[in-house]
């Protein structure tokens, strides 16, 4: 099958030959990273819990969010056509892209037709997924990221590690260092003696990007929602960089994953409550923009992106991943993500949602993609906070059943299965273990050694429960 491109191209930190455990091991050794992640995820967890508890009807909103998405996906063909008609009627241009290459070609074509060589960008998972910035650069167009965290990542030649806060792995002093060192190469330099307090860093970003916002003629965005009925696009943001890009340039290009649709304007009453509270832990994000077609004299292009989504849609269990509204609540509560960060997942979609989305979009051809469904203890914290009730643990288990397994593991599991298939076999194995208990090693061999590296083994009892039951007639003798 053709591999769907999912961001993190050639320059990605290590190739797909390296599995999640090896990537995670590297991250675990980075104590600064673990400190940054721990602090950030714990802050956001508490904030989310507070504003979610405020709404007495959260469970009902969540149920509605889930079913609206499922209903939309069930009738996605109808709603896509409806959206296309509404946007076109409102003066916008609609394009369809089957994969990343086609989407990049379409966007590059629109930009080149304007004669511009620079574009400003609003943070967008879809454009990261298709590697749009790199594709534009190859066509001689420079894309400037304007979201603060994306700016930190872009200036630092870094990789995003979180859906909402791509620079979550950086702390304030690292950000100060990146700004001081790199801003001058990209535009207005950072102020001299820039302190590392967050307001000063935000101010530096404001000054650095101001002139660019006021003068750039083309902008590229994603969108959080698209209303099929009216053709309205919706972007939620915090800083105002989104508004700058959506409002000031003469041409706006929006790249939209086809799963982002909702049927009606009214449906936003559910998602405008679910998303901000789940994502930044606010009652409402500072700015939400909605527009329909060509607005206030702007030229508007909408690129509808498949890039593997229809493949996911075909899977009965896995398709629920397409409900995702990219809030990142699952990342923020995940004990695995908290300890290894986003880079270990080797995709623009990290964390629990990434562990089910990436292997489905990209296929399970590489060691990395086969190992992602195992990057979870199945603790269920992700499912509990998901505002659209994606049962991530169940999808993980489903994907585990689909992937290839190593021979040693297959052999071990087959042997265990054989023993457990007859109670007599189990009893004989237990008795054998009981007799050899004194010989039990302190360290286990091979891949099982991971256990004894940090933990003692429990001693093997002389007598199993079933033998005790038989010997004593269930303790009556």
């Amino acid at each position: 099958m053709s591999r769907t491109f999912l961001g993190m191209p050639g320059a990605a930190p290590r190739s797909g030959d390296e599995g999640f455990p090896e990537r995670a091991a590297r991250a675990l050794r980075d104590s600064q990273l673990r400190f940054n992640l721990r602090k950030a995820t714990r802050t956001i967890r508490a904030r989310r819990a507070g504003v979610v508890a405020e709404l007495p009807d959260w469970a009902e909103l969540r149920r509605a969010g889930k079913e609206i998405k499922d209903h939309t996906l069930r009738h996605l063909d109808t709603y896509l056509i409806q959206l296309e008609e509404a946007v076109t009627k409102a003066g916008g241009h609609v394009h369809w892209a089957a994969d990343a290459a086609e989407a990049n070609r379409i966007v590059a074509g629109i930009v080149k037709a304007t004669g511009e060589t620079e574009v400003v960008k609003v943070k967008s998972m879809a454009t990261q997924e298709i590697g749009l910035n790199e594709a534009l650069l190859a066509e001689g167009v420079t894309a400037y990221e304007t979201d603060l965290a994306e700016l930190i990542v872009q200036l630092g030649d870094d990789w995003p590690s979180h859906i909402l806060v791509p620079a979550i792995h950086r702390n304030r002093s690292e950000i100060r260092e990146i700004f001081t060192r790199r801003m001058a190469e990209w535009g207005r330099p950072a102020p001299e003696d820039l302190p590392d307090d967050p307001p000063a860093l935000a101010e530096a970003a404001r000054l650095h990007l101001r002139e660019r916002f006021l003068s750039t003629k083309v902008a590229i965005s994603g969108a959080n929602f698209a209303v099929a009925e009216t053709g309205t696009l919706v972007v939620l943001e915090s800083e105002g960089n989104g508004r700058m890009c959506l409002t000031l340039p003469e041409t706006l290009i929006t790249v939209l994953g086809i799963e982002k649709l909702v049927p009606t304007w009214r449906d936003l009453e559910v998602f405008l409550q679910l998303l901000p509270r789940s994502s930044t832990g606010e009652r409402m994000n500072p700015y939400t923009s909605t527009w329909t077609g060509a607005t206030e004299g702007q030229e508007f292009h909408l690129v509808l992106l498949d890039n593997g989504r229809t493949g996911v849609l075909a899977d009965e269990v896995g398709r629920q991943a397409l409900r995702c509204i990219r809030c990142s609540a699952c990342l923020n509560v995940c004990p695995v993500y908290e300890r290894v960060g986003g880079h270990a997942y080797g995709s623009v979609y990290p964390g629990p949602i990434g562990a089910i989305l990436t292997p489905q979009l990209r296929g399970m051809g590489s060691e990395l993609d086969r190992s992602l469904p195992y990057a979870s203890s199945l603790c269920g914290a992700c499912y509990e906070v998901c505002p659209v009730a994606i049962d991530i643990p169940s999808v993980l288990v489903e994907l585990r059943a689909k992937g290839r397994h190593h021979l040693a593991e297959r052999t071990g599991m087959a042997a265990a299965g054989w023993v457990l298939e007859r109670s007599g076999r189990l009893a004989r194995m237990q008795r054998l273990g009981g007799r050899l208990r004194k010989l039990a090693p302190g360290r286990l061999p091979g891949p099982l050694g991971g256990w004894t590296d940090t933990r003692d083994l429990p001693p093997i009892p002389e007598e199993s429960f079933r033998d005790w039951w038989n010997r004593t007639d269930g303790g009556r003798r």
Binding site: I44, A97, P198, A205, T232, I258, Q273, S289, G311
Partner: protein
């Protein structure tokens, strides 16, 4: 086959036979939240975003606009078309109109903008502008660093569902909840990035 046809065909093949759920709407929809107390709730919630909030009788609006602009030392202020002229009594303020449309650079050079709004949301402390009279096009409330917004008590909807029901989806909207902010540094909220760093809301009762 075009990509359009290919994508639509793939979608149809993928969902054939999939269940078609009813959408349960057991949450608090339009009209479900109480309408009394919205002014106090709205004021409290806007304040939580560290915006400046004042509640006053409508008859004192002109006076307060003048006082707020004077406190801010705003000498050149943008006024969108359709803003009530009677409220523009502030002495020493040069009112800048958007006709003909101001350039982005010209907007960047003013001290602030004063607008009305279309709707407000009490539960979330949100004001919604839809480019209607007194609100202007979207850039007017974006580029200047100070935004003074007048909200009449009757415009405050209790919750998000009520607000959406009052709005026309086809008009360009900007939902504003406090000043520009970011949580990108260690997930701590910091006010003031690219949008107006100061938001002042006058609630007229």
């Amino acid at each position: 086959m075009s990509s359009r046809e290919r994508i639509l065909a793939r979608v149809r093949a993928a969902v054939a036979g999939a269940p078609d759920p009813e959408i349960p709407r057991g949450y608090r929809g339009p009209g479900a939240l109480p309408a009394d107390g919205v002014v106090d709730l709205f004021a409290e919630r806007v304040r939580d975003y560290r915006a400046v909030v004042r509640v006053l009788p409508e008859s004192e609006a002109a006076e307060q606009v003048a006082r707020s602009l004077a406190e801010r030392r705003a000498g050149r202020v943008v006024v969108p078309g359709g803003f009530p002229r009677a409220l523009l009594t502030a002495p020493d303020v040069q009112w800048v109109t958007d006709d003909p449309p101001l350039t982005a650079a010209a907007l960047d050079a003013v001290d602030g903008v004063v607008t009305t709004c279309a709707v407000a949301v009490a539960e979330t402390g949100t004001i919604v502008l839809d480019a209607g009279p007194g609100q202007g096009r979207r850039a007017l409330t974006l580029v200047p660093d100070y935004h003074l917004c007048l909200v009449r008590a009757g415009q405050i909807a209790p919750g998000v569902p009520d607000a959406l029901a009052r709005l026309d989806p086809v008009r360009p909207q900007t939902w504003i909840s406090g000043p520009s902010a970011t949580s990108d540094i260690e997930l701590n909220r910091v006010e003031g990035v690219h949008g107006p760093r100061t938001l002042e809301v006058l609630i007229l009762t």
